[in-house]
């Protein structure tokens, strides 16, 4: 496949691996957080860590949209489907996230809820058009990448005069999450999470641009390299981060220049700010309440806001006590440090959200890398 294979080339990877080995100082350790689940997935799927020297460690960040969704938000969606009787549309991975009372959207579906998986927010609008007698709610999740399509769906529904379409908006913001991690006591005071730099988001940055990260580089003295989701992108970003650390620099660099500019997609940004406004606070799984970290629908579009239309309020629900998703999402623990990883909690029966999405740190490690925890035979 053109424009894809080039970024998965094994020979180039060897060259980059050699370059990283050469510049990484053997006297020190390097700890880099890849913020996005897309990077986590690429690292595990292609075995990128096998090519990195042992003193370069990758820490998985919280950038997996399904993972950071707290139980209470899934509960709201389930209530809409089972109690309000709406057709609930959502992206695939959301279906399997465990919620309260042993339910998930998938289980709510088997109990009679009309819950449908869609590939695009536009599909939800089409479903609303085809079912004028039913209320259709799009359960909108994700970071800045998926927010503009939700905005477009609302605009389309408005243009079509649809009275039966609304959105349960759970869109969250990347910079707020990065601030939260950098401000956390584990990073700032105790130093239990040594962080030497970030691999910045790929797709999110196509929308918001590279400018929002400049603050982190300056204020917290952490280098940021924005990188694409292909394995060579990740390797190149690691090399750039190692060089910044060695040179005691902390700036924003853009490896993903084929798609990301400093200003981002201004048209999308304008559309988003026309329809959405900041929430004062939003609960994230793992990060707890994070101020100004999520979006809600503006009053002018209140008719499309499922929270207002169905008058449902968010109720916080604590995670399963044995589940370490919170600590894993903050980079404090690794998946294999969790007691229930691979025993009670597996992709078939996930306890925590990180085991659900293929972008989740636990699912990625379980699916692709768990042999490393065991004495599996080297063939």
């Amino acid at each position: 496949m053109k424009y894809i294979e080039e970024f998965r080339d094994g020979e180039l990877a060897k060259g980059l691996a050699a370059a990283i080995r050469q510049v990484a100082s053997p006297e020190r350790r390097y700890h880099f957080m890849e913020f996005c689940g897309g990077h986590t997935h690429a690292i595990s799927r292609y075995g990128v860590t096998d090519l990195l020297p042992p003193n370069v460690r990758m820490i998985h960040g919280p950038g997996c949209p399904v993972c950071v969704l707290p139980i209470g938000r899934i509960d709201m969606a389930i209530r809409l489907a089972l109690e309000a009787g709406v057709i609930l549309c959502t992206y695939g991975d959301t279906l399997r996230v465990p919620a309260s009372d042993g339910l998930s959207l998938l289980k709510a579906k088997s109990r009679g809820g009309d819950i449908r998986m869609v590939y695009s927010s536009a599909d939800a609008v089409i479903i609303a058009q085809k079912n004028p007698e039913k209320q259709v709610v799009f359960f909108a999740i994700g970071f800045e990448t998926t927010t503009p399509p939700t905005a477009v769906a609302i605009k389309q529904a408005q243009a079509l005069g649809l009275k039966n379409f609304s959105v349960l908006c759970c869109h969250v913001l990347t910079p707020a999450a990065i601030s939260n991690i950098l401000e956390s006591p584990e990073v700032r005071q105790w130093g239990t999470v040594p962080l030497d730099g970030f691999i910045g988001p790929a797709h999110v940055s196509t929308i918001i641009g590279s400018r929002p990260y400049e603050f982190f580089a300056e204020e917290y003295r952490k280098p940021v390299v924005i990188a694409g989701f292909e394995p060579l992108d990740v390797m190149q970003a690691v090399l750039m981060l190692v060089k910044q650390v060695n040179g005691a620099r902390a700036v924003v660099e853009n490896e993903f220049s084929r798609a990301v500019t400093r200003d981002g997609n201004v048209k999308a940004q304008n559309l988003v700010s026309e329809l959405f406004e900041l929430r004062r606070s939003f609960e994230w799984r793992g990060l707890n309440e994070v101020p100004y970290s999520a979006l809600r629908i503006r009053k002018a579009f209140a008719g499309f806001d499922a929270e207002r239309r169905f008058d449902i309020a968010y109720q916080s629900v604590p995670d399963n006590r044995a589940c370490e998703c919170g600590a894993i999402l903050r980079g404090v623990k690794r998946p294999q440090d969790c007691k229930i990883f691979g025993t009670v909690c597996t992709p078939e029966n996930p306890v925590g959200s990180c085991m659900v999405s293929s972008e989740g740190a636990c699912a990625a490690h379980y699916t692709y890398g768990r042999y490393k925890d065991m004495d599996a035979v080297n063939a």
Binding site: M1, I4, R8, D9, G10, A13, K14, A17, S44, R45, Y46, G47, V48, T49, D50, L51, R96, Y119, P231, P347, E348, S358, Y366, T367, Y368, G369, R370, Y371, M374, A376, V377, A379
Partner: protein
């Protein structure tokens, strides 16, 4: 039924007619459907007996029996339809045991309102597939369910075949050192269905690989290679099937990503939808585990057959108490190729 007043019976209206409840009621309408559609296309001496069951001659060898239910949506897709798929699926289940398939039985569940013309297309396709494979449909059954209680047509086929003593295959015989072969490009069927369902307008349509494999497998047997196990990687794809064999045999496997045959359009569609071809269904491919010294012989035999032209050695078997199927990625790293979790694609066969 039609002997006395032949002129008074109107033939089935295949242009505008639809299945209604009388077609499953056991009365005249059902008899007409059987006669004008099923018997007409599938006809053979056993079906012509006209009894509730087919009386078959004694078979030589041990009997192998397999059954397969088909609920694919959409019913028609590039490269095939539910009719030929239901013939191939059961024949392949027999063939990978090492059996020579002999007879098929077919059960139809029709939904009220289903166009008779579409049903005719399906039955014709089934008849063509059965004829090409040389395996007759010798008995069958039809039921009709009310509108909304089915999805057009569901077909269950059951097959009977024979296998001689010592010539059968089982998934528990893979040994460390053995090689893993696949008969051609992977993921074609599942992606053909998915592209159709999601109306993905690819310029080069993805064509299902649905095919009866007993001819290819017979050629593989004739090569004399020490084949340990055969299996057709349908739902769950190559990844899931190899995990099944690894578990049954108590071994591990190591695949080479670079050796996997994947059609470029399938690779592109998978990339687009976030799927992995290793987990996408095939309906005309066979996986073989073979003794290392015979791998090249078997590969040559497969490549000499029309259905195995793109056969490849994709990995090897080794000792592993954890029974992991692993893969060396084209990137140079290593990863597990795990069991399929959840469902990757709905209703593909």
């Amino acid at each position: 039924m039609s002997e006395i007043r032949k002129g008074y019976i109107r033939p089935l209206d295949l242009k505008h007619g639809r299945v209604d409840m009388t077609h499953g009621s056991g009365g005249r309408a059902m008899a007409q459907l059987i006669e004008e559609l099923f018997a007409r296309h599938l006809g053979n001496e056993y079906l012509a007996q006209g009894n509730d069951g087919a009386l078959l001659p004694a078979a030589r060898g041990r009997l192998v029996m397999a059954t397969d239910a088909h609920v694919v949506s959409p019913l028609f897709f590039p490269g095939g339809d539910i009719g030929c798929l239901s013939v191939h699926g059961t024949i392949n289940d027999l063939a990978v045991i090492g059996a020579t398939p002999l007879y098929l039985a077919a059960g139809f569940i029709l939904e009220e309102g289903f166009p008779l013309g579409d049903l005719a297309r399906i039955v014709e396709s089934m008849a063509k597939a059965a004829k090409e494979a040389g395996v007759p449909v010798v008995t069958g059954d039809t039921k009709v369910v009310e509108q909304g209680k089915g999805d057009g047509v569901f077909i269950t086929t059951t097959g009977v075949g024979v296998v001689a003593e010592g010539e059968d295959y089982s998934g528990d015989r893979a040994c460390p050192g053995d090689r893993v072969l696949v008969s051609g490009s992977i993921g074609d069927h599942g992606m053909a269905i998915m592209a159709q369902r999601e109306s993905l307008g690819f310029t080069a349509p993805i064509v299902s690989d649905t095919a009866a494999l007993h001819g290819l497998i017979a050629a593989m047997r004739r090569s004399g290679a020490a084949i340990r196990a055969l299996r057709d990687p349908t739902r769950g794809g190559v990844a899931t099937t190899l995990n099944e064999i690894a578990r049954q045999s108590g071994v591990g496997m190591m695949l080479q990503e670079a050796a996997l045959p994947v059609n470029p359009e399938v690779a592109a569609a998978c990339e687009f939808l976030g799927l992995d071809p290793l987990y996408v269904a095939n309906e005309g491919k066979v996986l073989a585990i073979v003794a290392p010294e015979d791998a090249d012989t078997l590969l040559a035999a497969m490549r000499a057959h029309p259905l195995g032209q793109r056969a490849a050695i994709i990995g090897s078997v080794h000792e592993d108490a954890h029974r992991f199927v692993q893969m060396t990625t084209g990137f140079g790293g290593r990863r597990i190729v795990d069991w399929l979790t959840g469902e990757q694609l709905p209703r593909i066969c």
